[in-house]
Amino acid sequence: MNNLYNLWQSSGIAQASSGQVLMLVICLFLLFLAIRKGFEPLLLVPIGFGGLLANIPGAGMAFSATEYAIRHGDLTLLTQMATVLQLQEWSSAQDLLAALNGASFQQLESLKTLAFSAGYNNGMLYNFYNVAIASGAAPLIIFMGVGAMTDFGPLLANPKTLFLGAAAQFGIFATVLGAVALNATGLMDFTIADAAAIGIIGGADGPTAIYVASKLAPDLLGAIAVAAYSYMALVPLIQPPIMRALTNEAERKIVMTQLRHVSKLEKIVFPISLLILVALFLPDAAPLLGMFCFGNLMRECGVVQRLSDTAQNALINITTIFLGLSVGSKLEADKFLDPKTLGILVLGIVAFGIGTAAGVIMAKLMNLVSKQKINPLIGSAGVSAVPMAARVSNKLGLEADPQNFLLMHAMGPNVAGVIGSAVAAGVMIAMVTSMAT
């Protein structure tokens, strides 16, 4: 009879918190968006499913051994742990969990030893998170794969469009200010690290957002990744009204000159040049842009086709599976169901909007000083969201003039936006880290 009671006790229904039930519903909705509505399914299917797994009551798949031990350990163990944490007064496991956030590296190591000694183990998703994201490896490997898939031809044919990719990063920094302002209202409690991590959503670049969030605000990573990928999927809805509001019919009909042919050698030298610039001026962006340039060099150099193919297929797919599940582990109820998440969702879409607007306005500014006119519709592609944003530019261009194909012209600012976001990411990580100390 005792066993039957134990079994019931260990069932999910008995252990479920309302938060976990809500998260299960939210994750099902994410899966619905991904599968039925086509929202960036390659990432949102693993993320949504990882979120389901992370919120299975009692399974603790997203918990470290320490967290699991605190939730399931006996009084002796908890007392030992409280001693390590130097807690004078504590009444429940919740107090210990709360104290984990402020614990030092040595305290965490001691707690880990206690938990393992008592026979507890890390949950599977926690291990995946550590190997894939906490180490920084998975976003960098995906960035390498993206580099191997990127054709810099259109950008090389018209390097000026790099300015559009720069301008669109304004969304990132405006959002940082927005988060700071939200903090000032007292509604939410963001640190400067949180604000920077939220701002990067405006970069419209998944792996960059995950990389920055893992460094600056790991607790917000789930919400940030979900916001970034969801809004990237919503680019065809978010951008057009802004683009129409900021341009007139004549501007939208501007025909751009055909892109010149770019030689093989230029494509080989470009990633190397970019890396050298990074080395000289912006070492903080070296991991992201370094792996990106490496992937692109493998693609263009023409002598390591085997490696390039693998980076674009088996390796990026394997990494995506584990990255997605790992991000899902951060959709665990205690971490995701926080007023901050709401703030992140609001700020994220604002970031996209501002980035779009800044790109379009920059294009118009450039037309004031340059003879070769730019169709301002390609400015919005500077947010990245490759290749969705470029397609949106093309679509609006065709609406204004059915003969005006902007796709290739928009690919320039589009990939420039990837570089711009990575630069912004590097700057923010470096500045925030030095601010925090």
Binding site: F163, A166, F173, I192, L265, E266, S273, G302, A416, V427
Partner: protein, 84 residues
């Protein structure tokens, strides 16, 4: 943390956005210069293309025999199966 959060935010904005613009501006200059140099000194002349090919093919020709081998092996397997 001597500065206020707002000050930090403004700092991030100013120096961050500045760095992005300056860096990409430098990248534009370097890219222009690089393209000029390449087009001028290493034009894709038909003749030279061929010499490039002959070197660049060496590696890909490395895959060649293996591909052939794979095909051969695959065909043998396939025939073997069919002859079952």
């Amino acid at each position: 943390m001597q500065e206020s959060l707002l000050g930090q935010g403004l700092d991030l904005m100013v120096y961050g956005m500045g760095t992005v613009f300056v860096f990409l501006a430098v990248l534009i200059l370097v890219t222009f210069a690089m393209s000029k140099l390449v087009v001028r000194f290493f034009p894709e002349a038909p003749a030279q293309v061929k010499t490039i090919k002959s070197t660049s093919r060496k590696p890909s020709s490395a895959v060649d025999p293996r591909t052939l081998q794979v095909i051969r092996a695959a065909i043998q397997q396939h025939r073997a199966r069919r002859s079952r």
